[in-house]
Symmetry: C2
Subunit: 252 residues, 2 copies
């Protein structure tokens, strides 16, 4: 079976032009079919602030109100996505920037407003692999923004890790898929030391012990869920995207 | 030969949600292969103002400085493009939103800074029809934002009328192509009366007489240049997109 790398790049790398250039150089050198999924980092937040849009928070979580959705659609779907695509072409990689609405590749359902109304946030319903496969078979790199749509005419804000995991899992039927969450740290850390292998038991132990916290929890949940469906998963430094083994590998 | 409609929708329709919805409804009902090219209307200008970016003008023409390019990339490539794509899907049309950088469909050259440095403005160099044809053959509607790239990693601001004309001309080899410039007026007007047929001689006469002015001049220049290469061209109301004949038709 053909192999495929689904690579998610974290917000703090997107925020830093030098780091992003470094990453894109390495990413362009990765051989074989590959997909890039990006977030928008703090650019959307900063843009919202410049536009005078006050963050709407409930219980410490940001609500995607209509104005925030506009900013996210602009920044993720336009600014970040198109600049990455243009840079990849300059590095010799043919790329296509897509949101979930384009070619209807990812449909989502607006999240239930109860108990908390998160606004224009979408939970992935289906990944349509037909065009993604055509691009990959033609040597084109799909670059996905963390945006979906509801087929009712609305764009929706969807977490980039979730999209990466959903896309990797959906394509695992056709490809032998590897999912890499790339970010600014070497992997999952404990007291400054990299954990190179992680299984569910160790994950739960470290989570209960307060070693694994915050954003790493949903990332690992998504990673283990993809692993269960046969996807190879690692969490690694953005500097190690071209390495065969690196960072924290999830194992059964 | 297969027929193709290349439809450009003007900024004032994009600016008005009701008009845009009306247009998209009609556009979705147009049978056969079709391409939509949109501008960004005043949304980019308003967004720039809200972000405190002062318009940089030379001789009454706006300069695309680096900040303005960012706004244009966000607004045209993200906000406007993705919302149109999402709406088309809700109307049963399968669409893909693209800038010139995506799949490298339109490359451009940054305009010579002499005599006037317009900044990050691109003059079209080539239209690569391979993927556009694949989309059209599969019943997918390409929705093009007025953005190109230079293959050196930079996005460029390119006039939407120019893109429409270049795309219509490039695809005229493979399709029998019709180019429609749709906007908020019934066509080219003279004293409140619609001119239904226009040839080069009449155009020059009306231009010299000051009847045809401003933005209509480059549009007609582009239209006559496409006509010369065998494209059928009309300038018509956004309300007449689904009509076989309407507005001002260019004739030899």
């Amino acid at each position: 079976m053909k192999s495929l790398k689904v690579i998610k790049i974290g917000g703090k790398v997107i925020d830093d032009d030098q780091k992003l250039d470094h990453f894109l150089n390495d990413f362009a050198s990765v051989k074989g079919p590959k997909i890039l999924i990006h977030g928008g980092g703090s650019i959307a937040t900063k843009m919202g602030e410049r536009l005078g849009i006050k963050p709407n928070m409930i219980e410490g979580r940001r609500i995607t109100d209509a104005e925030t959705l506009e900013v996210i659609t602009m920044v993720y779907g336009g600014l970040v996505n198109k600049n990455i695509v243009a840079k990849l072409h300059s590095l010799g990689a043919k790329a296509v920037g897509l949101s979930g609405a384009d070619l209807n590749i990812i449909t989502a359902k607006k999240r239930n407003p109860k108990p908390i109304d998160f606004g224009w946030v979408g939970d992935v319903e289906s990944v349509n692999t037909e065009w993604i496969s055509k691009f990959l078979d033609s040597g084109v790199v799909p670059v996905l923004a963390p945006l979906t749509h509801d087929l009712k005419g609305n764009m929706l804000n969807t977490n980039a890790d979730t999209i990466a995991s959903a896309v990797a899992t959906a394509l695992n039927v056709e490809f032998e898929t590897e999912l890499m969450f790339c970010f600014e740290k070497p992997g999952v850390m404990n007291n400054g030391k990299l954990i190179t292998k992680m299984n569910l038991l160790l994950y739960r132990y470290l989570k209960d012990g307060g070693v694994i916290t915050n954003g790493m929890i949903p990332k690992l949940d998504l990673g283990f869920s993809a692993l269960k469906k046969g996807v190879k998963v690692s969490i690694r430094s953005f500097e190690d995207v071209a390495k065969p083994e690196s960072g924290t590998s999830l194992v059964k």
